[in-house]
């Protein structure tokens, strides 16, 4: 799911940087406040993120198939370290993957952090892990806790991957990179990530179960769970049912949206149809929202000047660069200059080496 720089427009990448950066800033603030109480957190985070980085390279055989799956970092890290620390650790992992392994672009880092770290750490933790883990007594009802760990890992991984994949589709479509309609692109991405999420969830739950059996105090929320009793057990069951119901509604809603007979429906609803005017599709007042409005004109002019978003109508325009023969010849000349720089560089290096050799 690591996006390359080429797949994003600068405006979209910048927005994602702001979103991820703000969340990171807030996380740093929370962690700094915690630092005095727990000064060892930083080395623990570093070692755990290094472990997750290496652990993601392990191939886990999926029974019954010839293929293998991998670990889901965000969910594991937030279950072990908490959401803020998990988020920062994921940022560090993604930064190292981007800088040293070219896995995801530098400009796309903000988007990648959002797609792969935000949902797994914050959504996975606050919406899935914490509600499911709270309440039960880990000592008294171990089977119940085990089931809840499995459910939380599975739901967390599946949902965070679905949201992440959807964000990738949304960001790429907004960047105007692909001709693929929004609905078709989402229809490709979501089912693939449903399968990946399921496998990742199972692997993550296996690791978390092992930690629970050996050192349960390492897991977030479990260590501070209240004393067991019928009331808490009941509440935990109710929470489980509510979380499951919300998840089912979410997944059902999302799937029905994509299973619609008109896959372009969402694209049409989101972006409008330029030929018919945006107002015709969105039911908005054409004076204010249509193509002819003064606001749209000004916005269009600003966009043209800054040119941060790609120009959708460029291909029909007379000035389309790269469509003329002169463009072709010019490109060949640029390529020749580039080759010339390489030859000159090689020449000077050889000369330097010879000089060093004689000395």
């Amino acid at each position: 799911m690591h996006m390359a720089d080429a797949l994003l427009a600068p405006a979209v990448a910048g927005t994602m940087y702001v979103l991820s950066g703000t969340t990171a800033g807030l996380s740093v603030r929370t962690l700094r406040q915690e630092q005095e109480a727990d000064p060892q957190k930083l080395p623990v985070m570093a070692v755990t993120s290094a472990l997750v980085f290496a652990g993601q390279m392990i191939n886990y055989t999926i029974p019954g198939t010839g293929s293998s799956g991998h670990l889901c970092g965000g969910m594991l890290l937030s279950a072990l370290l908490g959401p803020q620390a998990g988020f920062l650790s994921m940022i560090v992992i993604l930064t190292i993957q981007c800088l040293f392994f070219a896995d995801g672009g530098l400009m796309a880092l903000g988007a990648n952090v959002w797609n792969m770290a935000f949902y797994g750490c914050f959504f996975g933790y606050y919406v899935i892990w914490r509600p499911l883990m709270r309440g039960g007594s880990p000592e008294k009802d171990r089977t119940n806790t085990r089931m809840r760990i499995i459910a939380a890992s599975l739901l967390g991984c599946i949902l965070s991957l679905q949201l992440g994949a959807f964000s990738v589709v949304l960001e790429t479509s907004l960047s105007g990179i692909t001709e693929l309609p929004f609905g078709a692109f989402a229809g490709l991405m979501q089912p693939i990530h449903l399968a990946i999420g399921l496998v990742e969830g199972l692997i993550t739950s296996a690791v978390l179960l092992f930690v629970y059996e050996s050192r349960p105090e390492l897991l977030q929320e479990l260590s501070c769970a209240g004393a067991g009793g019928r009331l808490t057990a009941k509440r935990s069951l109710r929470t489980t049912v509510i979380v499951l119901a919300v998840t089912a509604a979410f997944v059902g809603g999302a799937l029905s949206l994509f299973a619609s007979s008109d896959p372009d429906g969402l694209e049409w609803a989101l972006f409008g149809n330029e030929e018919e005017g945006y107002a015709a599709n969105m039911g908005l007042d054409e004076e204010n929202f249509g193509n002819q409005s003064a606001v749209a004109d000004t916005a269009g002019r600003i966009q043209e000047t800054t040119s941060l978003l790609p120009d959708y109508s460029f291909k029909d325009s007379e000035s389309a660069a790269g469509t003329s023969v002169s463009g072709l010849i010019g490109s060949a000349m640029v390529a020749a200059v580039a080759a010339g720089i390489c030859v000159a560089g090689g020449f000077f290096r050889r000369k330097q080496q010879q000089k060093a050799g004689t000395i």
Binding site: L42, A50, Y60, S89, F314, T323, G327, I329, G330, A338
Partner: protein, 266 residues
């Protein structure tokens, strides 16, 4: 060689490149970082049909590769990660956008082919720039640059510590994987029954390792922050590099150089 060993080699290779000495290596890391970000944003801002407009942007990284002595071929090896993903998205364009934009004798170039080629070129250029940054800077100097740009100490220290520990963890996982595969010949990956315990064992050991790491940091005088070797202020030549780079990006972005050059002959 397993995946972990390959990753270790790749990390060591990058460290070796960063240890070379050249004018580009000696530039202030913050300046190089800013210029790279600016370059990538400029490349991404080109329209999806502006193939010939985008092409002159190749000159900046090509020149810097030559000046720094970093082999371009090393960077192109990393394309195996970038190009398949870019291609997976771009491959649909020729199928869906069939409006002809250029006729070369009998060959018709459609808008889709043009936009796909532009996308691929953008992918290559962005990779060239970010690889060059890391190959001439290294993690220590990059962290120093981030601190110089007032990025909070906490995430920067975390980045540095994690990077240092990644090689340790990769080695551990590599040894474990090798030991496992020797005991389970003919089996691809980790069996279902060992999914939890395989990484879980290492995780528990690592938590104890973090404890001793923290103690050793305290013994070496750690008080919540690291000191970086690269502390020199940004000099005039650094500003000159940034200014020239930014000016050339603006020039290539605003002036269709290839078009004008070609126009002289047509």
């Amino acid at each position: 060689m397993n995946k972990m060993d390959a990753a270790l080699r790749e990390l060591a290779g990058m460290d070796d490149l960063a240890a070379l000495s050249s004018g580009i290596h000696r530039l202030h890391p913050a300046v190089k970082f800013l210029a790279t970000i600016l370059y990538i944003f400029t490349v991404a801002s080109f329209s999806r049909y502006a193939l010939s407009g985008l092409l002159p942007m190749v000159l900046w990284p090509v020149l810097l590769y030559q000046m720094s002595g970093i082999p371009v071929s090393l960077c192109f090896r990393k394309l195996r990660f970038v190009l398949p993903l870019v291609l997976a998205v771009g491959i649909w364009n020729p199928l869906l956008d069939r409006v002809p934009v250029l006729q070369i004798v009998t060959l018709t170039v459609t808008g889709g082919i043009l936009s796909m080629c532009t996308l691929m070129l953008k992918g290559v250029l962005c990779l060239m720039a970010s690889f060059l940054l890391m190959a001439t800077t290294g993690i220590d100097r990059l962290c120093a640059a981030l601190r110089a740009m007032h990025v909070p100490e906490y995430p920067v220290t975390l980045l540095l510590l994690t990077y240092r520990y990644i090689s340790v963890m990769l080695r551990e996982v590599s040894v474990m994987t090798d030991a496992y595969s020797l005991r389970a010949p003919g089996q691809r990956g980790i069996h279902f029954s060992a999914w939890g315990s395989f990484l879980g064992q290492l995780l528990l050991r690592s938590m104890d390792r973090a404890q001793s790491l923290y103690e050793s940091m305290l013994l070496r005088g750690y008080r919540g922050g690291f000191h970086y070797a690269e502390t020199r202020p940004i000099a005039r030549k650094d500003w000159l590099f940034l200014g020239l780079s930014a000016a050339s990006f603006a020039f290539f972005r605003l002036v269709p150089v290839a078009q004008i050059l070609g126009g002289m002959f047509v």
